[in-house]
Amino acid sequence: MADEKKLFKVTIDNITIEVEPGTTILNAARSIGGEVAPPAMCYYSKLKNSGGKCRTCLVEVAAGSTADPRPMPKLVASCRTTVMDGMIVKNITSERVIDARAGVTEFLLLNHPLDCPICDQAGECHLQDLSYEHGKEGTRFEFQKRTFKKHDLGEYIQLHMTRCILCYRCVFVADQLTQKRAHGILDRGDHSEIATYIEKSLDNDFIGNVIDVCPVGALTDKTFRFKNRVWFTKPVDAHRNCSKCCGEVQLWMRGDEVFRVTARKDEWGEVKDATDGRPGWICNECRFEKKDLKDWTIDGPTKVNRHSVISQGHYVGVQMPKDFLPEVMGGRGPKLLMDIHKVSEVNRPEIELSKIDGPAHGDDFAGAKQ
């Protein structure tokens, strides 16, 4: 018993779990999953020292610990606050948190160009997800937005600073994956920007990973820019023998054509560790230069979270998320206002969307009606 580590009991939104001491509230919530996990725009579990900056993951601590059950006066950043034994955390059950998160979302969108229709990140953008969940319709900001020029960071990466939310993730990538960081934050306040100071290209075998960690469309892959929308492409797991990296990637294909190569992501949008336990970061060669299907061994289709627009329409292997609402609300389910299947001609459960060849069409439903 003595060498067994004592686990900390923590209650998040009425769900109690036990976690290792030293776990952050965010990671504890993620181990529960679903809506209980606070959104994180700047925290990245694979990058040391990341987090604490975007303030979207703020939660209310209703009781600090069993030893000291006082509540914390301010909302805390769950990504940088470690759990204590007996801690009670309120995330979606706290009105203060919902209110603060809506505020943060509004702040993040304030100077964001909202150019999703022409942005390559659209469809897999964390800011889109965040504003869908916590944003308001319309804006109260009636002034000119701040803009920056586009910058080329070398052959493969383009920086569109106007879209940046200053999460610092790309700075941490350069710090922790490469020998010498060539870009950083310039200036301060709302005119601070990611830059190389004097136009420099980022040359490093692993610098392409800044594209994967960027939560918005600020850093994009020049070999993929404007080639396709992500929801038209199908992600496929593939691997190759690479001397520099783990070689395990996702190919984003349409037909037999490989449009884009990225690292494999987990359900939180973070780069997954490789199957042999190595870090999942991939090198520039795999990412940018191997766009031929012959270079790769296909492992099979990627499991796509239903949460992603990529799952829309007709994709097999869609994972349905677990519904946490009844548990969080103490057994009560959401009130059913109307059963859509009873009133709608379109959304009929007997039609298996995944069996329809191509995007669902009005005729498919018309046929099923008879």
Binding site: G51, G52, K53, C54, R55, T56, L58, K74, L75, A77, R80, D99, A100, G103, V104, E106, F107, L108, L110, N111, R140, F141, F143, R146, I165, L166, Y168, G184, I185, D187, R188, G189, D190, H191, S192
Partner: protein, 450 residues
């Protein structure tokens, strides 16, 4: 005439020089502390004195010192926060410029108490000439054996280094100061860990304001309990107030925290009344970050009691009807001042000084500035006032460091107490460009000398 502990020798000819300072009784506290007291006894004395941090937050200094982690074999540091950039505050500048040896004396005693062998003064970059004064004084102290190795034969070693900042307000926040001192970008760190555990170069560190460290000298000289007898309640000792604005005698005053605000403004010993025979409209009693108070709430609390110049009395009534002692930057506004313009000026400052690390402060300060500019220039809408209130509410408490709060409070207080003035600006877009709103209902009771 109030008690003077810090500035009593400020008018002595040549007090900047070591010889004069020593002749006037300087460095006695170092002798007393190093020769007769243990480091813990010094900390205990500071605890007994009830000294509160003079930088703005008012955290008890002795308690801060006792929180310092003391792991074996890890050096500890004392850092003096001389990055005084709060608009309206210039007390540290006066202290360092005219009494540099007082600060150094306090630093040596505090370093001894905390076991810091390398002590840093992080000074605001714009105070370039004061850097020279301090370095000259450090040289003199070293030449006379107060710094260096084996001070007074006690085996205690201490060096003081002066580091200039590069003109960022945010570097007055202790963790940003530490980052900047280490040579990095001055972004505040995410706490915990606190500097008392991981500060400069991940070593335990105490960061104290200039005035706090200078106050250690009288505490050691007269004893903590004697010091605690000065002042009232938890506001012990003396406090430097830098008074500015529309008053007859702007300057740095040492007060013993028992005098009423009314006396401080109108007495000839201090501010000497409102300039040009005008009337008092409002006052920011503790540096730009603290809530502004209209005249009626400044002189009397909401309960109708006299408001005194001390920590408790100034914050009486919370933010609804009170303010804060802050750093002691006492900004007085007369009837000709426009609160909207004043708030806009402050918002512009905070927008410029936000480090840009966390989103509420980065985006919110800019937004507030733009709205205030619109209202000030007669282009505002009535809904903008509520919007401003909502923005400040969403910044406050949700940021990494207190700069977000500091940016939100002045706006909140201005709307809370001067909403009619904002509305007048919106309703009279032409008139507000040419004349001021004036006093309205929050006028002070016209001062009649007793």
């Amino acid at each position: 005439m109030g008690v003077k502990l810090l500035l009593d020798k400020a008018k002595v000819e040549g007090i900047r020089q070591y010889d004069v300072y020593r002749r006037e009784g300087g460095y006695r506290s170092v002798e007393k502390a190093l020769k007769t007291m243990s480091p813990d006894a010094v900390t205990e004395e500071v605890k007994k004195s009830g000294l509160r941090g003079r930088g703005g937050a008012g955290f008890p200094t002795g308690m801060k010192w006792s929180f310092l982690a003391k792991p074996e074999g890890v050096p500890r540091h004392l850092v003096c926060n001389a990055d005084e950039s709060e608009p309206g505050t210039f007390k540290d500048r006066f202290l360092m410029e005219f009494l540099p040896h007082l600060l150094i004396e306090g630093l040596i005693v505090a370093s001894y108490a905390l076991g810091s062998n390398a002590t840093y003064i992080y000074i605001r970059g714009e105070y370039a000439w004061i850097t020279d004064i301090l370095e000259h004084a450090i040289g003199e102290a070293k030449a006379n054996g107060w710094l260096g190795n084996n001070i007074l034969g006690t085996g205690f070693n201490c060096e003081i280094y002066v580091q200039r900042g590069a003109g960022a307000y945010i570097c007055g926040e202790e963790t940003a100061l530490i980052e900047s001192l280490e040579g990095k970008r001055g972004n505040p760190r995410i706490k915990p860990p606190f500097p008392a555990v991981k500060g400069v170069w991940d070593r335990p560190t105490v960061v104290n304001n200039v005035e706090t460290l200078a106050a250690v000298v009288p505490i050691i000289n007269m004893g903590g309990e004697e010091y605690a007898k000065i002042g009232v309640g938890k506001s012990t000792g003396t406090k430097l107030i830098s008074a500015c604005g529309n008053i007859n005698k702007p300057g740095v005053y040492e007060i013993d925290m028992t005098i009423p605000v009314e006396e401080f403004i109108y007495s000839d010993e201090y501010c000497g009344g409102i300039a040009n025979g005008k009337r008092l409209k409002a006052c920011i009693p503790g540096g730009s970050s603290v809530p502004i108070l209209p005249a009626n709430l400044l002189l009397k609390t909401a309960k109708g009691e006299t408001r005194y110049m001390n920590y408790e009395s100034l914050s009486d009534g919370g933010f609804a009807t009170g303010s804060m002692m802050g750093s002691g930057g006492f900004i007085v506004l007369d009837e000709d001042q426009c609160v909207v313009k004043n708030t806009y000026t402050l918002a512009r400052f905070y927008r410029h000084e936000s480090c840009g690390q966390c989103s509420p402060c980065r985006e919110g300060t800019g937004w507030m500035e733009k709205i205030l500019k619109a209202i000030e220039s007669g282009k505002g809408k009535m809904s903008d006032i509520d919007l401003l209130w909502d923005i400040q509410r969403k910044i406050e408490g949700n940021t990494i460091c207190p700069l977000g709060d500091a940016a939100a409070w002045p706006v909140a207080a201005a709307i809370r107490h001067f909403r009619d003035e904002f509305e007048w600006h919106v309703n009279n877009p032409q008139e507000c460009l040419t004349r001021n709103y004036g006093l309205a209902h929050y006028a002070d009771p016209i001062y009649t000398p007793a």
